[in-house]
């Protein structure tokens, strides 16, 4: 009788939707901060600043999400970002200033020295030529990141190293390669037109925000509407079942990590064009934050559960909270305390609420009988 009522698809007493909770939390955070600091928090500068900071982190979180949906994790995204950024920066600078710069000078970190740069009096090319150079830079960055992701995918799926170890190894490897290339010195002073990608605005909307929205739409379409996206969920949920239903797990996993790599490449472009420099280790604090935001966004670390909307809302909540704290005047380090306790809190809530819902469901069902 009990089983029958469950099988007949009666709705549980409490329908618990994580995304609704996030929307409510986001609204509460916004309202509280607006009441506390109405003039500063709601000022257009602050909102625009938030819109500049969200995209680069957001795209990294999306990359992490795709890897985590397949039941793995990608620790190497930051290292991929750095490696792709460094190679893209070298390509950009040597294409833009072919006469006055050579590779050995560039790698010695000449672009970081104010005096040397003014002495060179570099003139970036204009018009169509610059446009082609920028396109080449973007494709180099995304291509390198894709190759890195592909290597991760092969290690995880063909050789079957556990994802956390494979990507830990490649993280060290890519980080090392970037160190060997640059010897730790930053590359900076990119030509002005390139910086438009990261710090320009179209009327009031920042360009990176537009790129971020495009990425969110693309990833969401990819996960919900394509065969591969659906296969990623299936493999993450239960890889053995997926294999016996005719999916080629190896292929799916390779492509998953490829997509992760490509998204890291997009993040590279956003980062280096916003801060106008690239250096080994830049953004290394984003790695665990990305894991944090993905788990906050309702993605299961076991894989197979989670959606883009949750992660995006999670990013917005974290950004709103951290910029709110900045305005109120908490120290920057205190933010870590808040984020850490939020992660623990949300994990506990996510663990408890389904249990309570289940118990209530059984109660209502036994009352039915």
């Amino acid at each position: 009788m009990k089983l029958k009522s469950i099988l007949s698809g009666k709705r549980p007493a409490i329908t618990y939707s994580k995304n609704m909770t996030f929307i409510i939390v986001l609204i509460v955070v916004f309202v509280v901060l607006s009441i506390l600091q109405p003039t500063k928090f709601l000022s257009s500068t602050n909102l625009q600043q938030m819109a500049f900071q969200i995209p680069e982190f957001g795209v990294l979180a999306l990359a992490m999400m795709v890897a985590m949906l397949s039941g793995g994790i990608d620790l190497s995204i930051i290292a991929v970002t750095n490696l792709a950024g460094i190679i893209a920066a070298i390509v950009l600078l040597s294409l833009s200033y072919p006469e006055s710069l050579d590779l050995s000078m560039l790698l010695k970190g000449i672009m970081a020295e104010e005096a040397a740069v003014t002495e060179l009096a570099l003139q970036p090319p204009t018009g169509l030529k610059m446009f082609i150079i920028i396109l080449a830079t973007i494709s180099v960055a995304i291509g390198i990141a894709g190759v890195c992701g592909l290597l991760n995918g092969v290690l995880v799926s063909v050789i079957r190293i556990p994802p956390i170890l494979a990507t830990l190894g490649t993280m060290k490897l890519y980080e090392g390669i970037s160190l060997v290339i640059t010897k730790g010195s930053p590359i900076t002073n990119f030509p002005k037109p390139f910086l438009f990608i990261g710090s320009g605005t179209i009327s009031v909307i920042p360009v990176p925000m537009i790129i971020f929205i495009v990425c969110v739409a693309a990833v969401s379409m990819f996960l919900n509407r394509t065969r591969l996206g659906f296969s990623i969920y299936a493999v993450g949920e239960n890889s053995i079942a997926a294999r016996f239903s005719g999916l080629k797990n190896t292929n799916v996993l390779i492509k998953t990590y490829l997509v992760t790599g490509l998204l890291a490449g997009v993040a590279t472009i956003l980062i280096i064009s916003r801060v106008d420099s690239v250096k080994v280790g830049y953004g290394s604090s984003f790695l665990l934050q990305a894991v944090l935001v993905v788990i906050l966004g309702g993605v299961s670390y076991l894989g197979g559960i989670g959606n883009v909307a949750g992660v995006v809302l999670g990013i917005f909540i974290l950004r709103a909270i951290s910029s709110g704290f900045n305005i109120i005047g908490f120290s920057n380090h205190f933010r870590n305390v808040i984020w850490g306790s939020m992660l623990v809190f949300v994990t506990i809530i996510n663990y408890i609420i389904p249990k309570i819902a289940e118990r209530l469901r059984f109660k209502t069902h036994s009352a039915d009988m």
């Binding site: 620790l75 290690l155 050789i159 079957r160 190293i161 556990p162 956390i164 170890l165 494979a166 830990l168 190894g169 490649t170 993280m171 060290k172 490897l173 890519y174 980080e175 090392g176 390669i177 160190l179 060997v180 010897k183 730790g184 380090h333």
Partner: protein, 117 residues
């Protein structure tokens, strides 16, 4: 439940000891000291043969893993290789060693006999 509680308390205890050793060695503390150490530690433990899924691993293996990482770092210095190459070498070692283990498992599943030393 009781065992898990003990395990995590014991980890806290051991990190306390490690912190005393570290502080008395460098005589300088900062919240971000040893921040990059986390992943190195995982690498050492895994090199020592512990399984990430749990259930296998020995103290001796872990110590050998730790020894190996520092042994290699030190030899790189003695061989006058610039320290930029450190992460490359460590990364390659992690990939190759875990790769060999994982690949042996695939071979085992497909019926190829592995001769244990």
């Amino acid at each position: 439940m009781k065992i898990q509680f003990f395990v995590y308390s014991y980890i806290g205890f051991l990190s306390g000891i490690a912190s005393i050793l570290y502080v008395s060695l460098v005589r300088h503390v900062h919240p971000f000291n040893l921040m990059g150490m986390l992943l190195d530690v995982i690498a050492a433990v895994v090199l020592g043969g512990a399984s990430l899924a749990g259930g296998s691993g020995t103290v001796l293996g872990t110590m050998l893993g730790v020894g190996m990482i520092y042994f290699i770092k030190n030899s790189l210095i003695l061989m006058k290789i610039p320290s930029y190459w450190d992460p490359v070498v460590i990364g390659l070692i992690i990939i190759v060693s875990t790769g060999i283990n994982a690949y042996r498992k695939i071979l085992g599943r497909s019926g190829v006999k592995i001769i244990e030393a």
